[in-house]
């Protein structure tokens, strides 16, 4: 492990490590035939393109394009589509983060495929460290990463995009190794909306003040910027100058919101079907809650028709509060269906629904008299359901309407799903002996 403790505080830097085309790269881990081919990953329900390999980008495929618009053209250019395999991506993501923890005591997991690390060392040492991180993740997982290093998170982000774009850097870029004149040239060449946290909308207003490039913002008057755009943009300005204003966050112990929401493969048109949906979702959301050892105090339940259909948009949205914080699927289902079903109208075409749990806290922080615990909760029904489903599959048991064995028609369409090779024993990848 890199020993940073003995180095002076002035050599403290931020590294941003992210996996190149993460979802597409994950698909290649167990299917090397995809190496070098254009690959896209589709959203839930095989709807839109949510991730592309660089070869797919080079073909001109755009993020967010509906799959049906390009599926006929895809075979002619060798474009391969995959349904999103979140179990595989989630497991590989946690392996990446765990490897990163070997390189720094302070890691902020920023998203599924990127993390900020606190690192210390001379510019040359940090470049070497960047290559070491890159090699470790390549060797252990077969995933390609880029490393950007700077004096602030914003600089690290900028360095990372440099590492991606300039082939000569080989995936590692430390801003400190460039001369001030060179950094000026880089910042002059990039539009201001390339900065982390500056939205395109905001960049239009900046443009009207004569701020077009990243360098323009860095060299602007901080007081004037704060007055016009607020403290957030002022912070970006300072960060570009190398003053570290956005601190690394530790990992939050318990997320205070847990959600389960999905689009349907075919619209749900009756209250009866919606009840079935809620029964499944209540089970799934409560499983997430139990997994993190938490209980919820309140819930929001919603459904929605399509915004793009010819019929009027209908999106009922209701809240409920539990008398005692709970993670029991029966309680969650009772609350969700009692508030939502009365607003669901037969005949409308609902395309999505979800349950969001609020006021989430660790279970141990609640000690109630047994008297107030619902009977089925004290029997740990939720845990029993989890165990049965783990052993016999997701459709083996369910609450009320969710207990039907056949897959339900509104369940997600995932026709191009790869194997969940690291999380399911019956889906292990195949190694050929021939």
């Amino acid at each position: 492990m890199f020993d940073s403790a003995s180095l002076p505080e002035s050599q403290r830097r931020i590294a941003l490590v992210d996996v190149n085309s993460f979802f597409a790269s994950c698909e290649r881990v167990f299917d090397p035939s995809l190496e070098g081919k254009p690959v896209v990953v589709l959203s839930n329900n095989d709807g839109c393109v949510v991730a592309l390999s660089k070869e797919a980008k080079a073909l001109g495929v755009k993020m967010g394009i509906p799959w049906f618009k390009i599926s006929a053209w895809a075979p002619s250019v060798g474009l391969v589509a995959k349904s999103s395999n979140y179990e595989l991506y989630g497991d590989l993501s946690s392996r990446v983060m765990s490897i990163l923890h070997e390189f720094s005591a302070h890691v902020e997991v920023y998203s599924v495929d990127e993390a900020f690390l606190e690192v210390k060392g001379t510019p040359e040492e940090l470049v070497a460290l960047g290559y070491e991180i890159k090699a470790a993740i390549q060797n252990k997982l077969g995933l390609p990463v880029c490393v950007g290093i700077g004096r602030s998170k914003t600089q690290a982000k900028l360095a990372n995009s440099g590492a991606k774009k300039s082939a000569g850097l080989n995936g590692v870029c430390n801003l400190d190794t460039f001369s001030p004149e060179h950094i000026d040239r880089i910042m002059e060449a990039l539009p201001v909306d390339n900065i982390w946290g500056i939205a395109r909308r905001l960049s239009k207003r900046l443009n009207s003040m004569g701020i077009h490039t990243i360098k323009d913002l860095r060299d602007a008057d901080p007081v004037r910027i704060k007055k016009k755009f607020g403290v957030v943009v002022q912070r970006s300005l300072y960060e570009l100058r190398g003053i570290d204003c956005i601190k690394l966050e530790g990992e939050r112990l318990v997320k205070n919101q847990v959600m389960y929401s999905r689009s349907f493969a075919t619209p749900v048109t009756t209250r009866k079907q919606m009840e079935e949906v809620l029964a499944v979702y209540a089970q799934r959301v409560s499983k997430r809650l139990r997994k993190q050892g938490s209980v919820a105090g309140a819930l929001t339940c919603f459904a929605g028709t399509s915004r793009f259909a010819n019929e009027p948009f209908h999106s009922p949205y209701r809240n409920a509060v539990f008398s005692v914080p709970t993670n029991d699927p029966v309680e969650i289902l009772k609350a969700a269906s009692s508030v939502l079903l009365e607003c669901v109208e037969d005949g409308r075409k609902y395309v999505r629904a979800g349950i969001m749990l609020h006021d989430v806290s660790p279970k141990t922080s609640h000690q109630y008299l047994d008297l107030f615990t619902p009977v089925h909760e004290s029997r740990q029904l939720g845990e029993v359901l989890d165990t049965v489903m783990e052993k016999h599959g997701a459709f083996s048991i369910g609450l009320g309407a969710a207990g039907f064995k056949s897959p339900r028609h509104w369940e997600m369409k995932r026709e191009m799903l790869s194997l969940r090779a690291t999380t399911r024993w019956d889906e292990l990848a195949t190694v050929h002996a021939r």
Binding site: F30, S33, E35, T430
Partner: protein, 145 residues
């Protein structure tokens, strides 16, 4: 009383361990409680014994019988560590024609060979190791008996 003191083994607690076999470090005497019970180590955890690096280790399933003479049969699961450097004599997972393929690796001064452990299958020869993509090194075979 001359009770031998068993070696105390400290293990990290693992959240997702594979419970397998109960083991105690000394034989249990009937009749009266043995002082050695205080040294009960907990169950043998296959994860800790079969997997050196959880981050770089993957389990894959074998299809085909070209490695039969190495004791690896069709349908067996093998444990593969991607972080290990492939050495002469290792059973490796190599990428051949875009597929994960199981072979025995031989590194000779003049050439590198990928051999099946079944005479029915031909060898694959290249000049240097760098011409091959070695996906990982097999460390264990979970053979179905």
């Amino acid at each position: 009383m001359a009770t031998p003191t068993p070696e105390l083994v400290v293990r990290p607690l693992s959240g997702e361990s594979l419970p397998a076999i109960l083991a105690a470090s000394t034989a249990v005497q009937a009749g009266f409680p043995s002082p050695a019970q205080d040294y009960f180590d907990g169950r043998v955890d296959l994860n800790t014994h079969l997997i050196k690096d959880v981050n770089s280790t993957f389990i894959v399933r074998v299809a085909g019988d070209s490695m039969k003479n190495a004791g690896i049969s069709d349908g067996d699961e093998v444990i593969v560590d991607r972080a290990l450097t492939p050495r002469d004599g290792d059973v490796v997972v190599a990428v051949l024609d875009g597929e994960l393929t199981l072979k025995r690796l031989y590194i000779r001064s003049e050439r590198v060979l990928l051999k099946a452990e079944n005479p029915r299958f031909p060898d694959i020869a290249v000049d240097t190791l760098s011409e091959l993509t070695i996906w990982g090194v097999v460390t264990r075979c979970l053979h179905h008996v």
